[in-house]
Amino acid sequence: MNDRIVFEDVSKFYGEILGVNRVNLSIPAGITSLVGPNGSGKTTLMNLMTGLVKPTRGRVQVLGYKTDDPENLFRILGYSTQFDAFPKGLTGFQFLYSYLRLSGRDSQEAERMAWRAIERVNLVDAAKRNVAAYSKGMRQRIRLALALAHDPKVLVLDEPLNGLDPLARSEMIALFRATAEQGCYVIISSHILHEVDVISDQVILLSNGYVVAEGQISTVRGEIQEHPTQILIRCTRPRELATKMLEDEHTLEVTIHKDEKGLLLKTRDADGFYLALNQLALNGNGIEIESIAPADDDVLSVYEYLIGNEEVVR
């Protein structure tokens, strides 16, 4: 599987403390978010992916490269860690330049690539200042620049939006999107669920070192049988629609919206429900349906259903 990031029955224990246990994953291109509360195993999974820690059991491969082969792995992978320490006495530019020289690049190429990465994260003005004097947001950006500097195919970003102001956050999200659209693999860890919801193509939900669910958010949501799917319909004459929908076997519960311009329905079979709704609309009984949208088809809901509401930020 040279086009995937693969975890095969991977466990990591720190002495007697569990990092992650029995993880099996196959991560495709696009933006994949690792979601879970603090201590759920997000960083451990990223450190395993980058070879910074070794699995106690199992095997990890990144696009066919072994994680104990840094010489080849880090030619295709960039990792923005959460570690907030830098080699002493370096400016932002020197930090990137030294890294690129460590990669074996010559002086001119390293300089050109360092400046390009600095421009990508909007840090040109501060590039000649010592990293030790950077604000938290600037340090976050220079770490992102380090991960991006050598144009990696795989970007692993541990809480990349921490410490960034709203403008910088949206810039970074756009950058991740653009990178993913080029066919890259962007792995992001976050405990801020609404951000994950906006940017992710797929999610991996973690809790206490275990992968609880993985895949596209809608697929994951569909697999959660114990919580009915909620669908919000904006329409005219919502009470009439509610009556008709309750006659359908797929509808479990209907609540009229406070503004009397819509209703919230619960169903265990979303596909069957949509079919019945289409039928109703085609019959032309004077009800105008403006919009239909899943109300709990997002990471936040999925996370709440699967894990509960521990330490995650909405």
Partner: protein, 374 residues
């Protein structure tokens, strides 16, 4: 791997090693926590400078005594004076004393009986050495010839300082401070991941760090060694320096000391590099290596070979003689009872260092970034 690919890989590795060295040199030379290494390296230089200052004072005094003498004296003239000679005989050989004291004193002959005698002290010098002649009632009673400093004699003192302070303490602890921190320091600073996230083989990184440490320690301690030699020779007259350097193997000795210094940095550096990876607390490996090196003379021949000092002592150009009456335990520490030839010694250190570096390369591949447990 084809020859072309292999050549390219070697080129990249070398470029990476140079990049590591550049980063490490900045940290090693300008780190505040490494300031004590400069002080330790400078201590023997200060010692020799102080000795040179003290000796030059004595030298000036001798020259002044020699100048004030009735005639220029040679060392042989000073040796000619023997106890029992008369004042006239002494003056016939050495001339009138440039410095003399005389006084009368009562000397006990037997209990209750004393004799009044005339005592005289004559002080002669040939410019290098002092002769003190004690006379009683016109006859030489005591002769005290004090040799002034000369490079040949002082080279034994130099060898003592080199072997017992510079090698065993200054270079030992200097290497501890520099090599132990190459990995351990960055784990404590939580910045080691910077290297581990680069596309560089861990072994290449280790080699780069070792060479950076070696370059730093060699620069510091070879500079110290050269300054020590200059301070050691500085106060001698140019003629004495020339004789020592060009006719008494002085230059050769200086070169050997520099070589031994470099080899000590290689050997101890490799030891402390691996120790820094294996141990969280530097005190334990330091104590173990220090004790191991100290007990080396008492170890069986097979075990002796696994130490750095065993080979370094064999390479030192000047033997330190044990003073008569030195306890056998101390004499064993001072002398090198079982020296090996220079090529074997050099090879021995290189092999010991390579074994330590191999252990380091195994360890560096196993290393994980897990700062929270440090």
């Amino acid at each position: 791997m084809t020859t072309g690919t292999s050549r390219l890989a070697t080129k990249v590795w070398w470029a990476q090693i140079k990049a590591v060295i550049r980063l490490e040199m900045r940290k090693t030379f300008f780190a505040k926590r490494g300031l004590w290494i400069y002080i330790v390296a400078l201590l023997p230089v200060l010692l020799f400078m102080a000795y040179a200052l003290a000796t030059s004072g004595q030298q000036r005094q001798r020259a002044s005594v020699a100048r004030r003498g009735e005639k220029p004296l040679a060392y042989q003239d000073l040796l000619a004076v023997k106890p029992g000679m008369t004042t006239e005989e002494v003056i016939a050989i050495l001339g009138k004393p440039p410095v003399n004291f005389h006084w009368a004193e009562n000397r006990p002959l037997r209990p209750g009986v004393t004799e009044n005698v005339l005592r005289e002290d004559y002080h002669y010098s040939d410019g290098q050495d002092d002769l003190f002649v004690g006379l009683v009632n016109g006859k030489v009673e005591s002769v005290n010839l004090q040799n002034g400093s000369n490079p040949g004699l002082d080279s034994i003192m130099f060898a003592g300082v080199f072997q017992f302070f510079f090698l065993r303490l200054a270079i030992f602890f200097g290497c501890l401070g520099i090599f132990m921190n190459l990995f351990r320091g960055e784990i404590l600073d939580r910045s080691l991941h910077f290297y581990f996230l680069a596309p560089i083989r861990r072994e290449v990184l280790m080699a780069g760090k070792f060479l950076a440490g070696l370059l730093a320690t060699c620069t510091i301690f070879v500079t110290s060694e050269v300054l020590q030699t200059i301070a050691f020779l500085w106060h001698f007259p140019p003629s004495a320096r020339e004789v020592y350097l060009y006719h008494n193997h002085g230059l050769e000795h200086a070169a050997v000391y520099v070589g031994v210094t470099v080899l000590a940095c290689v050997g101890y550096g490799a030891f402390f590099l691996v120790a820094g990876m294996l141990f969280r607390n530097p005190i334990i490996p330091t104590a173990v290596i220090l004790i191991w090196e100290a007990i080396n003379p008492f170890l069986p021949a097979v075990l002796k070979q696994f130490s750095v000092i065993y080979y370094l002592k064999s390479l030192c150009p000047v033997d330190i003689p044990s003073a008569p009456g030195t306890p056998p335990f101390l004499a064993l520490l001072i002398s090198n009872s079982d020296p090996v030839s220079a090529p074997v010694a050099v090879l021995g250190i290189v092999i010991v260092a390579l074994i330590a570096l191999y252990a380091s390369s195994v360890q560096v591949r196993r290393m994980e970034i897990n700062y929270t447990t440090e």
